[in-house]
Amino acid sequence: MTLDTVKHANDTPDVEQPWAELGLKRDEYDRIREILGRRPTGAELAMYSVMWSEHCSYKSSKVHLKQFGEKAPESDALLVGIGENAGVVDVGQGYAVTFKVESHNHPSYIEPYQGAATGIGGIVRDILAMGARPVAVMDPLRFGAADHPDTRRVLPGVVAGIGGYGNCLGLPNIGGEVVFDPCYQGNPLVNALCVGVMRHEDIHLAKASGTGNKVILYGARTGGDGIGGVSVLASETFDETGPAKRPAVQVGDPFQEKLLIECTLEVFKEDLVVGIQDLGGAGLSCATSELASAGSGGMRVELDAVPLRDSTLSPEEILMSESQERMCAIVEPGKVDRFLEICEKWDVIATVIGEVTDGDRLEIYWHGEQIVDVPPRTVAHEGPVYHRPYARPEWQDALQADDANALPRPAGGEELREQVLKLVGSPNQASKEWITAQYDRYVLGNTVLAQPEDSGMIRIDEETGLGVAVATDGNGRYAKLDPYTGAQLALAESYRNVAATGAKPLAVTDCLNFGSPEDPGAMWQFAEACRGLADACQALGTPVTGGNVSLYNQTGDTAIHPTPVVGVLGVIDDVERRTPMAFSEEGQLVYLLGDTREELGGSAWSQVIHGHLGGMPPKVDLERERLLAEILVSASRDGMIDAAHDLSDGGLVQALVESCLKGGRGARLIVPDGLDPFVFLFSESAGRAIVSVPRSEELRFTDMCGVRGLPATRIGVVDGDAVEVQGQFSVSLAELREVHEATIPALLA
């Protein structure tokens, strides 16, 4: 086979090219020809096709994501915003924190262990590339029905993969989610979040500047992994026969990544890099074009210098390979030797593969012959933009009219008790200990809070106690009922979770998991969710710093519930003042903060008891969320509360049971005047939390709530070894613990 050089492409303008097989549309191919003024070479076509895929170019989502920037609230905290590998937030004392959530959904369905493992690996490199030391990971997960046989295949593999990779990197897992719903059958969601910490001056960006600077590829050798994986895996839906092109699965090597981390941090410390980029989806195509596009000059790469694991790879394949555990750095010539020395110290292979030029082209050579000559911006940043049609689905009205508040309710205490046990033992509400026990939460010695707390909390300065808290949330059922509100509820819950532990919410990352953008209904869900999230971020003053979009999550015509997963990062001046969730002091008073309305649409109760999804999700009141957060943070700082737990799915009773079980203490509750016991226990009104208040602090606490206008209702006392709702029922902690903890092991162990 002759090498398809630029010269050859010039000479043979009429050669048929497989643009359609590579996922390009006719007009996209035409545009490439127009940009280049000739047909692309095979290597160029490979690069464009992968970089212009949905996954890399965000061509369907871009027009909606724009709002996150346009509506971004003024925030002094934002040091680096959307567009870089991850956003960076100022958390004070000279520290900056970077965090981001990404999806690895489709790969995890095909090969659960490796798919999930490389999901962790990828997000960790993103964080590393910003100049930060990764300090924690989280894993929001969604699976099909808990008792479906395929869940038995997918879930254990995913969990083992996340643990296998994260544990081996030495990153504590501090939280996540596990949600079961038949809508995720065949489309599990495996999202992964990483948090990193650095000093302000250590922030690094992905850009290649300085003519003559060297391009160094370091880390693993390049093999045939996931060639075309990005475009195929992320942008094409599966049908009965499986994926159209089954690409080689990427296999992770966490040990290699651990070395890469330590090596990279040492290189940063000695100030040896001008720009840096991780290799993720689209591999070298992405790294070289993005670095060159963001920089001032051009770039010249000798592709045959790339160390290979498989010597038969063609140049196109090398450009597309998604071999894991690789990074690309721009280094001044005088610093190259020291850079290579540090790599050698860590047993990391490093190779100079090119240099920054004073031109404005990305040029790639193969054994001396030019195979790529493109304007890098057209590859990396000026891909196609679609204004896909969208429309509110016809079924939306009927769904919302199917009111959950009208479902039959338990009659009397005995039935309430039964339903409480059923709820607490249902797969979605049950303890996830069987899963989270497979994750190391202690490594690095700075984990202040981890699952099952409302948010994970990491100490970042041992002297001052400065720390950060992160929570992730998303409720696909709410979003299905109303995607605008659902996205806001995801943010509100995550925000509330951070505040419940005593941290002040600062910034947002999000992973938007949706169906096919080519379906106007799914596109409408996406558009609404973006609008909802952007509006809510503006109202709460928490900018979106970055995130990820995963589309085409559907099997045939059936899409998953629209599932925006929102991560919120908060800061706490002194982690000693954190608020845990456990009720551990006998005699403390239990207060319910916020208003309880009759809101059962999309609730856990409606799902568990009636298998129902319909009506409207709970109302969102962002001003109330903000007030609640302020109170929770003040109360924590001033020592007025000993425990706090936010209310979300499962309502008050779920939160109460969790706090009691964690602390090993019971509670006696009184249903507040004017509230129906059922609504009191099961409603999922937003903007609420329960707290336990030492008697000595009661007055100070209720005064503060009164003055600020936050409803605070005394609902009971921490006491005994049962949960008792006066006049209704009582259930022992032992019985609650049994049903709460037995469910998941029974399904999976």
Binding site: C168, P254, K258, V443
Partner: protein, 225 residues
């Protein structure tokens, strides 16, 4: 002069920073030792920390055992240098034959991270003198290959000579024979265990501060020596 305790970093070591912190909190000076360096830099004791040295590929601890620093540590441990192997460090000690037996895949086949109650069975070693015999402590445990195995004769001998230093209470988290969580060599200067005392040295980040005693024990021994 402050006591200097070395902490070895192999490629893939993870809890080295934690071990250093624990040493500092106990009042000694942590000294970082590098796997390629044979020189122990005059440390008075050595900790082999937890983690996944060499990715735990082949067998946990098997590749680390052949590093240059281990050549020196093996010699000096035989000559009486106090050495503590935690988790992966314990695995390295077994692979080095400084301690008998081996650590195998957990019987339930999962990695497990939990707060583990232990009984201190031998308070006479270099690393346990600050505990009382029979004392119960709680420290984190986290491993995928922590099942302690040895042949019956070795197990009997360990029991008979008081070399079972820690035993699991409540649950046996990994299928270890006779609930063994940690053992020592005949001289009592080399101790290995699967649980992680270095993660239980601060109330803020650990389940307890029960782990600090390991480091104060060796400190006392070295100061009075």
């Amino acid at each position: 002069m402050t006591t200097r305790i070395g902490v070895v970093t192999f490629p893939g070591s993870l809890d080295d920073v934690d071990a250093q912190r624990a040493i500092r909190l106990a009042g000694a000076e942590p000294v970082a030792l590098w796997h390629r360096d044979k020189d122990l830099h005059q440390v008075d004791a050595v900790v082999l920390p937890g983690g996944f040295s060499y990715g735990d590929y082949l067998r946990c601890g098997a590749i680390a055992r052949f590093s240059p620093v281990m050549d020196t540590i093996i010699d000096q441990a035989r000559a009486g240098l106090p050495v503590l192997g935690i988790c992966n460090g314990f695995q390295v000690l077994c692979e080095s034959h400084l301690l008998p037996g081996a650590l195998t895949r957990n019987d339930h086949l999962h990695f497990v991270c939990r707060d583990q109650r232990l009984r201190v069975e031998n308070a006479g070693t270099a690393w346990t003198s600050d505990y009382a015999e029979g004392q119960e402590i709680t420290v984190p445990l986290k491993n995928g290959e922590g099942g302690y195995v040895a042949d019956e004769r070795t197990l009997d001998e360990l029991e008979a000579t008081g070399r079972v230093v820690f035993r699991y209470l409540d649950v046996n988290p990994n299928g270890s024979r006779r609930d063994i969580a940690g053992i020592c060599n005949e001289a009592g200067n080399v101790v290995g265990l699967m649980p992680h005392p270095e993660h239980a040295v601060e109330a803020l980040t650990g389940p307890t501060t029960d782990g600090l005693g390991f480091f104060t024990s060796v400190l006392k021994k070295l100061v009075t020596a």
